[in-house]
């Protein structure tokens, strides 16, 4: 058996050989797992997570953080999932692993991940009519995995086709902290596909999307509308894109920030999107609510109504709008008169909600 010094030399030599032979980041992770006899993982600056077990089998991006022996080298985060006490060579292996992986990732990035992707690849991935084999190839070309979890965002501006490349690029940049993210402009909409990592469930992921994309940085508030699609396997990305575009129709434009609608949270309400617009506009209340959007005061009325329906109390609605609750009350009274509704009656509250959804859907026809 090796002495300690010989064993250490062997570890160094091993990772040197991987570097010398220009191993990819994936090979380095596999090698680290094999030599440690434990699962190993790597997170790259662009959000990509790579994980393998000691037999060389790929693992999903999610891991129980508690068990990690971790090492960060710059933007690269490497770890070994040791079950039990740390072993003599672990520190050395980890250090070499992180360093080798960093240079591997820099050298061998298969695609420019910091820019918008070629729309044709993303189009194939998001198309339900493309054969499975084609979708699989396109996924790989984008650096995504067919059976890892993924969700798609549909992004729109105020007017149809108004999402600029810059805007989409900025949102892509922000998305990277959520996982491996790829974006492209598809027709009038922006599409962002995110291979999510380590979220307990979709609800957590959707919340992270809202927080991460919606934040204002350095005083810069990006206004956009966003539909969050369901979480699916990579090969089923089309389903997520579909649900994202439907959800998008429920996101009302706000001039002072981002507006999100999550398809999972919408649930059965999403079915309303299939009702033809002229059905909705046949109803006088829906027409009335639509008219509100034509004036600034009217838009505020609508926001107040939505906020009140969401929070259920004048005070909470007021807080969220930075408005005194008496102003809220006054506007609501005016709306009650206009719409012939009594907001203390559950049936009328439901009617109001339904009409707001309808007005929003009519405002944002399917793109």
């Amino acid at each position: 058996m090796d002495s300690d010094a010989e064993a250490a030399l062997r570890v160094i030599d091993y990772f040197d050989a991987l570097a010398m032979r220009s191993a990819t980041a994936e090979m380095v992770v596999r090698g680290a797992a094999a030599i440690s006899e434990a699962a190993a993982g790597l997170r790259l600056p662009d959000g990509t997570t790579i994980r393998f077990d000691a037999t060389g089998a790929r693992l999903s991006g999610t891991a129980d953080r508690a068990k990690h022996l971790a090492y960060s080298a710059g933007d690269v985060h490497a770890w070994i999932e040791r079950d039990g006490p740390q072993q003599a060579l672990d520190e050395l292996i980890l250090e070499r692993f992180a360093l080798t992986a960093t240079s591997a990732a820099l050298q061998n990035a298969p695609i420019a991940t910091f820019e918008l992707s070629d729309p044709s690849f993303l189009e194939v991935v998001l198309s339900v009519s493309e054969p499975l084999a084609e979708r699989s190839v396109a996924l790989r070309r984008l650096g995504l995995f067919p059976d890892s979890e993924l969700l798609v965002l549909a992004i729109a501006g105020e007017a149809p086709g108004s999402v600029t490349e810059d805007r989409l690029g900025e949102l892509l940049r922000r998305s990277r902290s959520l996982g491996t993210a790829r974006a492209a402009q598809l027709g009038p909409l922006g599409a962002i596909a995110i291979q999510t990592q380590s979220f307990a469930d979709h609800t957590e992921a959707a919340l992270a999307v809202e927080i991460t994309l919606g934040e204002s940085r350095g005083g810069e508030q990006i206004s956009f509308r966003c539909g969050i699609g369901s979480t699916v396997k990579g090969l089923d990305a089309a389903a997520s894109w579909d649900s994202a575009r439907t959800a998008l129709r429920f996101a009302r434009w706000q001039s002072n920030g981002a507006s999100f609608a999550d398809s999972d949270k919408l649930g059965a309400i999403a079915a309303l999107a299939h009702v033809a617009s002229d059905r909705w506009t046949a109803d006088w209340r829906v027409r009335s609510l639509r008219e509100l959007t034509e004036t600034i005061s009217g838009k505020t009325d609508l926001e107040v109504l939505e906020s009140y329906l969401t929070h259920g109390s004048l005070r909470m609605a007021g807080n969220s709008l930075h408005m005194h609750h008496s102003s809220v009350a006054a506007r609501l009274a005016r709306l009650e008169e206009k719409l012939h509704l009594n907001f203390s009656m559950p049936a009328d509250v439901f009617q109001a909600r339904l009409c707001i959804y309808a007005a929003t859907l009519v405002e944002h026809p399917h793109e």
Binding site: R10, Y14, M20, M27, A34, G56
Partner: protein, 333 residues
């Protein structure tokens, strides 16, 4: 896979430099520094290293596999075979006669124990692994005789063992591969038990050592030309490698023909001195109408599948299962 069987005082980075000139697969080339580097110059040392490497994996028999040893009597005495089978065996089982490698001078059933267990679990077959006699104490034809006895025993006792005598495949790696081919030749020629399928990995076939890969690969990882020289010298005993009196049952590359040979799968490693004698076998099998599947795995060396985590090794292993399943069960699961 355990990497703690690291050996000897040779400083690792010399090997890295020595092997740099070979365009090995990235993972395989790096992994080579982790494997034991033993030559045949010292036979006891060679055997000891193999023994120690096999120790951890041979100590464990996974649930679902039953394993027992049987001493079968032969004309000259006896030979020990190890039988592996699924715990809930629905008989009769297809069977694989498993012949380990070790350059004819080393290795043992212990060194293929975990492979045997894996095959049982993956395929639901019976494995018979032979503890054949090793050179130089027992040069040719001792090892081959033992293997032939085992094959005959399988056919003659098929019902007792619980196997289907018409579905016996022979699986051989390295020297075991050479024995497997020799076994197929001998059984064909003397009217012995028919072999349903032949699975070969980097077989050792030719004592003449005249191929291009044998000439070129003097210092490849896993196996060098020098190792092959010593191996044949010890296996052939009193005969001189390369001389005219060497039997095709010792060095199957010398066979006159491969007519009526069983269908064969042949896996070869790229940077392996034995590569080209394997390619020559492939060519001759095709020429003699033998159904053949051939796979040369890129960037590999002799025995590199021991680096089980590497992508190419995983492909080798996965293909092995798929091929055997197809051949032993006509593709049924």
């Amino acid at each position: 896979m355990t990497y703690d069987h690291v050996e000897n005082a040779s400083i690792p980075d010399n090997r890295n430099r020595r092997w740099k000139k070979y365009a090995l697969d990235e993972e395989i080339g790096a992994g080579a520094v982790l494997l034991a580097d033993v030559s045949l110059e010292d036979i006891p040392h060679f055997r000891e290293v193999w023994r120690r490497i096999s120790l951890p994996s041979s100590a464990v028999t996974p649930p679902g596999v039953q394993h027992d040893q049987i001493e079968i009597s032969t004309r000259r005495g006896s030979v020990v075979v190890h039988r592996y089978a699924p715990q809930d065996a629905r008989q009769p089982l297809s069977a694989v006669l498993l012949l380990h490698g070790g350059a004819f001078v080393g290795g043992s059933v212990a060194s293929v124990h975990s492979q045997a267990c894996d095959l049982v679990l993956a395929l639901g077959v019976a494995i018979i692994a032979v503890e054949y006699r090793l050179a130089p104490e027992y040069p040719y034809p001792a090892g081959l005789d033992d293997c032939f006895e085992a094959l005959c025993w399988m056919r003659d006792n098929a019902e007792t063992i619980g196997i289907d005598a018409s579905r016996i495949a022979v699986h051989g790696t390295s020297a075991g591969g050479g024995l497997a081919v020799a076994l197929a030749l001998k059984s064909r020629d003397v009217g012995g038990p028919p072999i349903h399928f032949l699975f070969l990995t980097s077989p050792e076939l030719d004592d003449r050592l005249h191929t291009e890969s044998m000439t070129r690969y003097i210092d490849t990882p896993g196996l060098t030309r020098r190792d092959a020289e010593i191996s044949w010298a010890l296996y052939l005993g009193h005969q001189t490698p390369g001389s005219t009196d060497v039997s095709p049952y010792a060095a199957p590359a010398r066979a006159n023909d491969f007519l009526d040979f069983p269908p064969t799968y042949l896996a070869l490693m790229e940077f392996d001195p034995l590569r080209d004698e394997g390619l020559e076998l492939a060519r001759r099998l095709l020429s003699d109408g033998v159904p053949l599947e051939l796979h040369l795995f890129p960037g590999t060396f002799h025995g590199s599948s021991a680096l089980t985590h590497a992508e190419v090794s995983r492909r080798e292993a996965s293909e092995e299962i798929d091929v055997l399943r197809r051949r032993l069960f006509d593709g049924h699961v």
